[in-house]
């Protein structure tokens, strides 16, 4: 190892340390921004070190790639709406996967030994399925394609055949690396597999899928690291892989479902049992809602994806301030799977300047619910569905929910009586203490704000 090579490797050690310390600082909201900065410095260091490699003869293609990618990335980061974060993360996962696929494919010309060939197959497989899987997830999230689960007869058999095909062509590739048709087959089947893996997953399960794809994009980088013998790719890739797996676990737990159930069952399309819900819908006008809120001293707000769609977070913040000036205590209850990705609601409310210590997790708000005078549900549905506690026949039975029905009064802000993203009937709407405030969430809340003024 000559001096430059040693220097490069040492730089990688330092940037690994920066990634790790950066992630550690992400553990608290006070230090998170510094942590992200530290991780970015680590990345810059790793890139500079990689550029010093003496194997590099010409720089123009590298620079072109960095400039093109950098400009696209920077523009996307500046322009994206906070409501669209899930789509953007999905797309970025896909790019990461594709990059790893390309690195794996490019590494073939220098590959020696079976182990390297196996890791090349892995980086192509994981990278490829991450790429197309993420594109499908992006399509579902942005609703450019239907967000429902796509199921058909014999799906499991088709998928098993694809997996068998990937295995067989992977083995053949390792045996005959000089024969490119096996490589093309691995690439093609991996891309198809990504599509097949994500289409049976319904829209309501997107937080799980996006976490899982995040994990895959890390694992793909990791496999690419094995393929080209690079430590820093392995370390950074596995950190990301671990992060994605943990988030996936948290999301599954929050829905009381196993990962395999999410991946294979096509939950979103299952029509719920022919259960009749008793009681009647009681609509309320903005004016009447105002009188109840005016007298309330403890208010809980439970936001869901509907708040994001209506872009109501800013006017919600306004209402919060008015209620607080009126002497009420206001808290937010955030369900782990509210929104389309982990922590989605928190980001939206942070954008509207709601302090993060006012956002309570489900387990913190539920014990307080009995003391809440008014619980306002804004565009959330399944995460406040009492059927998850009460009705064993409900598809979401056993899922932990925010128990808004235990508050004295519940306002549900809703566009119409259509069922939620998961397509499940919600008995909350028929409860004695529930009032439905129909209409666009932003306008309804704006109306309340005006009543107070």
């Amino acid at each position: 190892m000559d001096a430059t090579q040693l220097l490069i490797q040492l730089a990688y050690v330092v940037s690994a340390a920066l990634f790790i310390y950066g992630l550690k600082l992400l553990g608290s909201a006070d230090s998170a921004r510094r942590g992200n900065m530290m991780s970015a410095v680590g990345m810059l260091l790793a890139i500079v070190a990689a550029l010093l490699d003496q194997g590099i003869i010409e720089y123009q293609w590298i620079l072109l790639g960095i400039v093109v990618g950098g400009v696209i990335g920077a523009a996307a980061a500046r322009l994206v709406q906070m409501t669209s974060m899930p789509e953007m993360v999905a797309l970025f996962n896909g790019f990461g996967g594709m990059a790893s696929l390309l690195v794996g494919a490019a590494a073939i010309s220098t590959a020696t030994g079976t182990f390297t060939l196996v890791t090349i197959v892995l980086s192509i497989l994981i990278g490829g399925l991450t790429f197309t899987g993420s594109l499908i997830a992006y399509g579902k999230l942005s609703e450019t394609i239907g967000s429902g689960a796509v199921l058909f007869r014999g799906q499991q058999i088709v998928n098993s055949l694809i997996v068998a095909g990937i295995l067989a062509s992977g083995v053949m590739f390792c045996l005959q690396p000089e024969n490119p048709q096996w490589l093309y087959l691995v690439i093609g089947l991996s891309l198809v597999f990504g599509v097949m893996a994500v289409i049976p997953i319904g829209g309501a399960d997107m937080p799980v899928v996006i976490s899982l794809l995040n994990s895959y994009s890390g694992l793909a980088a990791c496999a690419a690291g094995f393929a080209i013998n690079n430590n820093i790719l392995i370390v950074a890739g596995s950190l990301v892989g671990a992060a994605g797996i943990i988030l996936t676990q948290i999301m599954c737990k929050a829905m009381n479902r196993s990962l395999s159930n999410v991946l294979f069952s096509g939950f979103g399309s299952v029509s719920s049992g022919e259960e009749t819900v008793e009681g009647e819908i009681k609509p309320i006008s903005v004016e009447d809602a105002y009188y109840i809120l005016e007298a309330a001293s403890n208010v809980a707000i439970i936001p869901g994806y509907g708040m994001a769609v209506a872009q109501a977070q800013h006017v919600v913040k306004e209402l919060t301030e008015i209620l607080e000036r009126n002497g009420a205590e206001v808290n937010f209850g955030i369900h782990p799977v509210a929104g389309r990705m982990p922590g989605h609601m928190n980001v939206l409310l942070a954008e509207a300047d709601v302090p993060y210590d006012q956002l309570l997790e489900m387990d913190d708000i539920n014990p307080r619910m009995e003391n809440v005078d008014v619980a306002i549900v804004i565009g959330a549905n399944d995460v406040v569905n009492p059927a998850a506690r009460e009705s064993e026949s409900s598809p979401i039975y056993g899922m932990p929910v925010i128990n808004v029905d235990q508050a004295r009064t519940v306002f549900v802000l809703k566009r119409s009586m259509a069922s939620g993203f998961a397509g499940i009937e919600n008995p909350l709407f028929y409860k004695e203490n529930t009032r439905m405030l129909f209409g666009d969430a932003k306008e309804s809340i704006g109306g309340l704000v005006r009543e107070f003024a």
């Binding site: 991780s39 093109v68 950074a236 943990i246 954008e351």
Partner: protein, 93 residues
């Protein structure tokens, strides 16, 4: 031996990752994810070596494509994470 050595690193890094991420509060899960996304752009480091061989062959073009894609991740991921984290504020007073 090299393979064993690399697998050893992989194992340690995964355990470390689990320990670190478990401590991240739910409030920060979106920035965590986009930040992790930026880190997964580390593939750019591997791609740089492949894009600069001066060979004008397939591997070179694949490498250049990988540099561009991974750069989107790196730049976009870090910038959007920073943008989000700048919005997180504590209640004053």
């Amino acid at each position: 031996m090299e393979a064993v050595f690399l697998t050893f690193i992989l194992m340690l890094a995964i355990f470390l990752g689990f320990e670190l991420i478990n401590k991240v509060p739910a409030t920060l899960h979106t920035p965590l994810m986009s930040g992790a996304n930026a880190i997964s752009g580390i593939t750019v480091v591997g791609a740089i070596g492949l894009a600069g061989t001066g060979q004008q062959d397939m591997a070179n073009w694949l490498g250049a494509g990988a540099v561009a894609l991974a750069s989107i991740n790196v730049v976009g991921g870090y910038m959007v994470t920073d943008r989000m984290l700048a919005m997180f504020k504590k209640k004053e007073g």
